[in-house]
């Protein structure tokens, strides 16, 4: 289960808001009360491996199961945080960048190095195994 001391740190890591950005009334309304205790399903390691195009031996499947379960449980702890009164944020950070990139082209000047690093290059194409099914 969850150690209470972990929660404030988790909160900070997930959203390093700049002080003063949110009204203090909102910031002080965090609650440590767990809200939902929905049981998480055990990970289907075989399916995950297939989706990630990774081959695993049966032993590895057994090894990874509990590890993945641990990671999922760790995220599960975040669900216990009461965010009812918190403004939703699309991103962890809200630091502003005032000038995104201008649309002016620049040719990468070391194309030779990229081409050289391609494992199988068949000038001018990159050679790959014949794959017809996208899904």
């Amino acid at each position: 289960m969850i150690s209470c001391g972990l929660l404030p740190r988790l909160r900070l890591a997930a959203s390093p808001l700049k002080p003063g950005l949110l009204p203090t009334s909102k910031r002080s309304s965090y609650s440590h009360r767990p809200r939902c205790a929905a049981a998480l399903e055990s990970p289907d390691v075989a399916r995950l491996a297939d989706a990630a195009r990774i081959s695993l031996s049966p032993q590895e499947v057994e090894q990874f199961g509990p590890k993945i379960r641990q990671v999922v449980d760790w995220f599960g702890q975040l669900q216990a945080v009461d965010l009812e009164s918190i403004e939703p944020s699309l991103r962890a950070s809200t630091e502003a960048v005032s000038s995104p990139r201008e649309d002016t082209p620049e040719t990468f000047d070391n194309r030779e190095a990229i081409i050289e690093a391609i494992p199988s290059y068949d000038d001018p194409y990159i050679k790959v195994p014949r794959v017809l099914n996208k899904d």
Binding site: L90, F108, Y125, K134
Partner: protein, 548 residues
């Protein structure tokens, strides 16, 4: 990590907190000043002459459906005409040598970071507004995972749950020859994403070839509501979308080059049934007419299966349109729902817009095709004229400029759609390239209207004006083309011709009155085409009949 603020490049922390927690502000483009209040609900009125054919077309469509209803939705990818790719500075131009416009970012090499091209956001907002959408003042990018060699990173940067624009619509006037009518098709969403590279499958070998020039090129995906019911409606939706992207200048909309690609979902259900039938996706249509045909083929294929009691043979699959055989065929069956495992793109900040930024873009929007069509319709032009002119914004600019120079709308439309369009087609040039200025076309029209030159002479000098330029006044003086409207001068010409042709005169007077045409031709020839035809006919008739 950071976020982008689009407000003319000046940061302001206040905007970081959304108003009332709402991310969506309803912002719609202002109605064009030309648009009239008298917008018809439903369809445009059919002109009496077209009514019968229009009804016949509708009846035919109904008969073909045989009690079934087809539901069509379209996903369109539009390649943006930016100078650089979406997340790196690589230039992109169609037809470059393979793998020349690449860099570590678009190659998906480890350790690289994407940086968003500001123009992509600008174009997305532009198109969103042009499609009457709500703009998301805050949106974000997500990773869409799939494994395919044209996608070097193993995921595509796209937008999943918060698209930059949603909930719009597109107005379409169906072509007169297909029954006409006005339709409104819903736009579900518009989102930003990157294109993948190009994969070339060798015919024999066990390998494929990849060109990553296109990888990372910015796209907008426009998803329609399932509002279309047949091939024509779908093709017209797509062609209106093409007009809009061209009008607002976000894409060249070229289907052959793949700058505008449509994936169409088609399903069929028995009339009265609430739930949708199994939907089939069709790809590989590189023209609007191919779209129309592919969809109608697919609808018929599905109806046939329904009628044969084989509706279970309609499966979720992707079918390709084959132009050669005029059929769709299975490319791949879909097994279960694709699991793209979307998650927020951690390498890119959220995209935050300000009202000021969106306002600026809204103000920069040109008059859109729908507004143009309504304006032209109100000038009294026929729907055929309206659709022709509004199809191309260069033609619109030319036509509008003629009107501003005093030309009568119907006459200007006739010249543009007739002789000028024929010239453009023959010479394969755009209206911007011809030497005849709108001002001179207006001058030509008024010179004919006020009788300075005859219509025949007008047609004759048109070509010279198109090819060489110059002014109508200049040509009239130079070539001595002023129409002869002096009755005495015409009478002299007529007298001359009659005197020179005593035999024909005798024949005329003994009953061969058709010879009047011969005399008229001779007089016109003698006047070098300048005799006013009305006066000529009148005087000639008097003279010919004088001896009786």
């Amino acid at each position: 990590m950071a976020l982008f603020i689009f407000r003319g490049f000046c940061a302001n922390a206040i905007i970081l907190i959304p108003k009332n927690g709402a991310f969506l502000h309803k912002i719609r483009p202002k109605r064009s000043q030309f648009e009239v209040q008298a917008r018809r609900s439903g369809s445009t009125e059919a002109r009496p002459a077209q009514k019968s054919s229009q009804m016949a077309t509708r009846e035919r469509q109904q008969q073909q459906l045989q009690g079934f209803e087809a539901i069509i939705g379209i996903e369109t990818h539009v390649q943006l005409q930016t100078s650089t790719k979406a997340f790196c500075r690589c230039p992109y131009s169609y037809g470059s040598d393979p793998n020349t416009t690449i860099c570590p970012v678009c190659m998906g090499l480890p350790g690289t970071l994407p940086v968003l091209n500001s123009r992509v956001v600008e174009f997305a907002v532009k198109l969103g507004l042009a499609l009457n959408c709500e703009i998301s003042m805050k949106s974000k990018f997500d990773r869409k995972q799939y494994f395919y060699p044209d996608l070097p990173k193993g995921y595509q940067i796209s937008q999943f749950d918060i698209p930059i624009a949603k909930g719009g619509f597109l107005d379409v006037d169906l072509p007169v020859e297909f029954g006409g009518g006005h339709k409104k098709f819903g736009i579900t969403r518009v989102h930003m994403e990157e294109d993948a590279g190009k994969l070339v499958h060798s015919d024999t070998g066990s390998f494929s070839q990849v060109d990553l020039n296109r990888a990372g090129v910015p796209l907008l995906e426009i998803v329609s509501e399932p509002d279309m019911r047949n091939g024509i409606e779908a093709a017209e939706y797509a062609s209106e979308l093409q007009r809009v992207v061209r009008y607002v200048g976000v894409s060249n909309g070229n289907m052959q080059e793949g700058s505008l690609r449509c994936d169409v979902n088609v399903s069929v259900r028995p009339g009265g049934q609430q739930e949708f039938g199994t939907k089939v996706e069709i790809k590989n249509m590189n023209s609007f007419s191919a779209m129309n045909k592919a969809i109608d083929y697919e609808i018929n294929r599905q109806i046939l299966l329904h009628k044969q009691g084989q509706a279970n043979q309609i499966v979720q699959e992707t079918r390709l349109w084959d132009d050669a055989t005029q059929k769709t065929f299975t490319m791949r069956k879909k097994e279960g729902l694709a699991d793209y495992r979307y998650f927020p793109e951690p390498d890119l900040p959220e995209v935050v817009l300000t009202d000021e930024y969106v306002d600026q873009i809204r103000k920069s929007l040109p008059e859109l095709p729908e507004a143009k069509r309504r304006r032209y319709e109100n000038m009294g032009l026929t729907m055929q004229d309206v659709l022709f002119l509004a199809n191309d914004d260069d033609v619109c600019d030319y036509f509008d400029s003629c009107i501003q120079n005093g030309a009568e709308a119907k006459l200007a439309a006739n010249w543009i759609m007739g002789d000028i369009a024929a010239y453009l087609k023959n010479e394969k040039v755009s209206i911007k390239e011809i030497k005849l200025t709108p001002k001179e076309l207006a001058e030509l029209i008024s010179s004919i209207k006020n009788g300075t030159i005859s219509g025949k002479i007008g047609k004759e000098i048109l070509n010279e004006l198109i090819c060489k330029g110059g002014t109508v006044q200049g040509l009239i003086l130079e070539k001595d083309l002023v129409q002869i409207v002096d009755p005495a001068a015409i009478e002299a010409l007529v007298d001359g011709v009659i005197a020179e042709n005593p035999k024909q005169l005798e024949q005329y007077r003994s009953g061969r009155t058709k010879l009047q045409g011969f005399f008229a031709g001779q007089v016109m020839k003698k006047s070098k085409g300048k005799a006013n035809p009305v006066l000529l006919t009148k005087i000639l008739q008097e003279k010919l009949n004088a001896g009786n």
